[in-house]
Amino acid sequence: MPRSSRTLVLPAALAVLLTGCSAGSDPDTAAPAAAPSPAASSAASSAASSAPPAAATTAPSPTPTGTVIEVTYAAGELTGVEPRVEVPLGEQVVLRVTSDVVEEIHVHGYDLYVDIPAGGTGEVVFTADIPGAYEIELHEVGRPIFQLRVA
């Protein structure tokens, strides 16, 4: 897969046939643009699986454990999280945020909102089935917590 992509892209770049390059370099990308979402996500998932080999083994159904992310927000400081978290497509994501003030977790793209009581913990559980990069933020203060990358 990577080899065939490469041979398609380089000559195209040299010939400066860029529209051909964008549309034709990967057969997976041609379909999703107009296709309804089930076809699009399956095509995207096969495209994604070629990049990190580990993702190819992930079953489409969510694994019971999944990725657990625990974050603490205290005195205006975030701890316990990297700025980027990558998960494979179809992974179950468990996000727990503990906060010393009333807050709300907002997962962009998936459009999920969960309240956190002051001094308590909010938990979001969802299946990462939309590929892409999405901000997760503390909604009240408008502060980004991290960016979730689903590939």
Partner: protein, 435 residues
């Protein structure tokens, strides 16, 4: 605060490793330049003299005051609805269409519309419609004769204000912020328009100038004799007149997409931009720094070109400014097209119930959610590379055609600009893709 989940494409979505994509893109620009030097030895572009006239019926319909009047009235009405929704509609950005209508449907939708149809915003500009009504009351514009001396500088300032709002101001997604901005912007533009005359909007309205610049790449345009013609986009851009401030306009456009890229990198979010959700200070500095970097590189290269070819260096930045238009278009497409296709859906969903009243669902779409799978991340990454490389290749071509009009050391003179173009290509792509 960030409503917009844009920029889904990233390094992980590329069909090739990032370094290979960067080499390929830089090489494509270099190879095109070499091919131009060998094969394109004399100027071929004819600017506004070129083009085949459209059929008489088409010209008559487009130039008819009825068509223009109806379209302007429709766009004015839609604008007033958006302003009203922004000011008194649902207070949360998630339920209010105005941020999406301004930042996505108008600002980003303007790009494909102008590339296809030409300078369409000048045709429907709601400010021009309001101006026509007000000018009847106020009479002659007092400073009309001074307008030409300003060139495009008013547009450069207006664009800088808008991109600052769009990319920097922490409260930019709040509907009330959008509403207040639209009202203040409209009032300021109308006052300036009444002062300088109707010609102001083509030199001072950010949206009209942006649309007109990009519209130069459209296959449709107006020839020097006033006929509507179909023509090569290259002739269209070549016909852009050198005027004061044109370089500044393009630098604001290019620098702001550069800042958009920077602000999505891990470097920015974990470093200088850590507090950007709270205060406008880091974003303002970052935006100005990116515009300054683009300007120093471009102006430096063109000044050097003047020295190498024995031409007056001071006139050189303006002489090649038109070649930056396709580059600005390429960056704009690369940065924002996914935003239009994905987040842009929100405008139409929320338009079904613009004021957030219970039980209102005008188009039956209010319960829809944005379909983020409409475009795959890999398709986005491919379009990003394609748009940026194609923009720079066209830029090199346009600059080359102008350079060979003064054959003395024309090839040597282009070298600094070609180096800068390659740097822009590689730098712009790494900012976009390495986030």
């Amino acid at each position: 605060m960030i409503v917009l989940a844009h920029g889904v494409g990233s390094r992980a979505d590329l069909p090739v490793p990032l370094t290979l994509a960067l080499y390929g893109a830089g090489l494509a620009v270099l190879v095109s330049f070499l091919a131009l030097v060998l094969l394109w030895r004399t100027p071929r572009l004819r600017g506004d003299a070129a083009g085949r006239p459209l059929p008489g019926v088409v010209q008559a319909v487009v130039d008819s005051p009825v068509t223009k009047g109806v379209l302007r009235a429709v766009v004015l009405l839609l604008t007033l609805v958006v302003v009203a929704v922004a000011l008194v509609g649902p207070p949360s950005p998630n339920d209010n269409l105005s941020p999406f209508a301004l930042y996505v449907t108008l600002w980003v939708g303007l790009i494909p519309a102008s590339l296809l149809l030409g300078s369409f915003w000048a045709y429907v500009n709601p400010l021009r419609a309001l101006h026509a009504g007000l000018a009847k009351l106020t009479g002659e514009a007092p400073a009309e004769r001074r307008l030409p001396s300003l060139g495009y500088w008013p547009a450069a300032v207006a664009l800088l204000v808008f991109v600052w709002l769009e990319l920097v101001l922490p409260g930019r997604a709040e509907p009330r912020t959008v509403g207040i901005f639209l009202v203040l912007y409209g009032v300021a533009q109308l006052v300036a328009g009444l002062w300088f005359g109707a010609g102001w909007y083509a030199r001072g309205d950010a949206f009209e100038v942006y649309s007109t610049l990009l519209g130069r790449m459209s296959p449709f345009g107006r020839r020097a004799d006033g006929q509507l013609v179909v023509r090569s986009p290259l002739d269209g851009i070549d016909g852009l007149r050198q005027e004061r401030g044109l370089t500044a306009v393009v630098m604001v456009l290019i620098g702001s997409t550069g800042f958009d890229g920077l602000s999505r990198t891990q470097y920015w979010q974990a470093g200088p931009g850590q507090e950007a959700y709270l205060t406008a200070v880091p974003g303002t500095l970052g935006l100005l720094v990116m515009i300054a970097i683009a300007t120093v590189l471009y102006v430096g290269a063109t000044l050097l070109a003047g020295v190498l070819t024995g031409q007056p260096p001071r006139t050189q930045p303006g002489r090649y400014a038109h070649s930056l238009v396709p580059i600005a278009a390429g960056y704009a497409i690369a940065h924002y097209f996914s935003l239009l296709l994905l987040d842009g859906q929100a405008t139409w969903i929320l338009a079904s119930n613009p004021f957030g009243r219970d039980g209102v669902d005008l188009f039956g779409t209010y319960s829809n959610a944005i379909d983020y799978t409409a475009v795959s991340p890999r398709a986005i990454a491919n379009v990003q590379i394609g748009a940026i490389v194609l923009g720079h290749v066209l830029g090199v071509l346009l600059a080359h055609d102008r350079a060979v009009r003064t054959p003395h050391r024309a090839t040597t003179g282009q070298l600094p600009l070609v180096v800068v173009m390659i740097a822009f290509t590689v730098g712009g792509l790494s900012l976009l893709l390495s986030s």
